[in-house]
Symmetry: D3
Subunit: 117 residues, 6 copies
């Protein structure tokens, strides 16, 4: 894996452990609900991850974007599809999304390069 991907996942795993290690039932259930949300249903997990990516982009949450980029990548989303998801988000959410798009494209590139090794 590349540096950006590694750092993100290491930090994410470490801090998720602390959150889930606390006694807070609401946070635990929210994590469980999050997992349930993206499972196969009337819509495929692939489409749901696309929805997760697009909504994360318009809400401009870089870490959420990274997370859903990885999930989209695992689901076989192509680079052209990824750009179309981001383009919907950029039109809906405006040029304010462009800096987040730059970081998304960098992360996507690293995901793709890593998988070729």
């Amino acid at each position: 894996m590349g540096k950006l991907v590694d750092e993100f996942n290491t930090y994410r795993a470490k801090m998720n452990d602390k959150i889930l290690g606390s006694d807070n039932k609401v946070m635990k259930r929210l994590y469980g609900l999050d997992t349930l949300t993206y499972q196969e249903g009337a819509l495929s997990s692939k489409v749901k991850e696309m929805l997760g990516l697009a909504t994360s982009m318009v809400l401009r949450c870089d870490d959420c974007v990274k997370y859903h980029l990885e999930k989209c990548f695992e689901q076989g989303v192509t680079t052209d599809e990824m750009f179309e998801i981001l383009s919907v988000a950029n039109v809906v959410g405006g040029t304010i999304c462009i800096p987040h798009t730059r970081r998304a494209v960098e992360y996507w590139e690293e995901l793709n390069n890593s998988s070729k090794l």
Copy 2:
């Protein structure tokens, strides 16, 4: 068509005419870009309209939600799929989306009832 759908579309058409009737080139191009965004590409128009619906919901724009609900309806999105789109949005965007979900479900119901006449 039902009352909510009628009122929304009449007002929308009337005011869009005024905006496009102004001399503002940026607004005209933005409307053009909006149309281009949802055309068939690497992703189908159907998936893109789903993305439009989910992003409108997390940004909590009722009129945008109505617009994309109509487009999703025209694209053959089922009620189960519609609820899954809204459920992703509600988990990503939080309970703050629930009041908008109530209005979305009401509008969706009217779209479905109208089509049965």
Copy 3:
């Protein structure tokens, strides 16, 4: 109950029934999680409802504000306390919150008047 309060609660109950009447497990669990969130814990329900009100205000969701105003009212929050919650929200969230504050104060007044009958 006053007119604003009645209309809000009637519509809310009707549409919540439709959402919970659907087969969508994620929405059902989100509603359950929402209930769990405000229960007595390390913090009292009263404080949690205050947090619910303040966060709804900065996110500028009128219906969420109405809901938490009712809950705060039931928990015995006073008018002075209510104004202090809104004042924190207005300073954190800016003057963009003022129109929502106007509607909140109107709703709060109706809640108080109703209870005196």
Copy 4:
């Protein structure tokens, strides 16, 4: 004055009185600060009201947009200038701003028609 303008201003004045009539010092000072913000300075009040309009639009607060449309109108902002302010906001904030732009254009039209009587 037209109907939209009248209703907005009547409600606004009535509720502002209640907010300022409360004992909440923070809200009072915030109202004072709001007045101070748009006074002549290094920038003219006209430019500041334009900034108020554009920021209200990207934050998608219809009542704030109405308020600043009136102030811009009083400051002599022309219809072409008004459309350019909104076009910057729509590009920065995305198509999610379009429904708010429709309502802004309707309000602006009423402000202009009223002034011709």
Copy 5:
């Protein structure tokens, strides 16, 4: 103090001096208003800081979260209470708040470790 806490406070103090050192009266008064907002009143400073933390979290401002975490810590908020504040915010604001929650928990941990030295 730990590294995160130190860096945040040093940068914050340095830049606040520059902002207050400018001739801008509006910014100065906003800083004054901010101080006033969290003082003892109908609600305790402790509750107000909790409101500050929750609103900062749903608006997803990491630096604001850090600031209010420190204030909450000084006011004697416990770790269980802190998690409940964050859990309300995560349910209201959605999973988009989770990355900010991770950073909040890390900062909170550092505040607690520092105080034990």
Copy 6:
């Protein structure tokens, strides 16, 4: 140029090339529309860049703020004017904008220092 300015512009240019190098027509047109938006019209480019800065600030996009700070600087916006733009944004958008204001002031200072070399 200073370090912050250099890093921002280098990364921005590199990633914009990748975005424009993709086959995505929507993104390309959005970039074109962005350029068109700030050209001389009924309003000067200077005023439009001020609008770009204020809207970027209330939407709390640090990179967008940096970009418009540079454009404002090139258009001859003075430090007093810059602070007034930020003060409107801080009052409209609330104290949640203060951390972004700190970073904006740091970037503005670097722009000014660089130009004196």
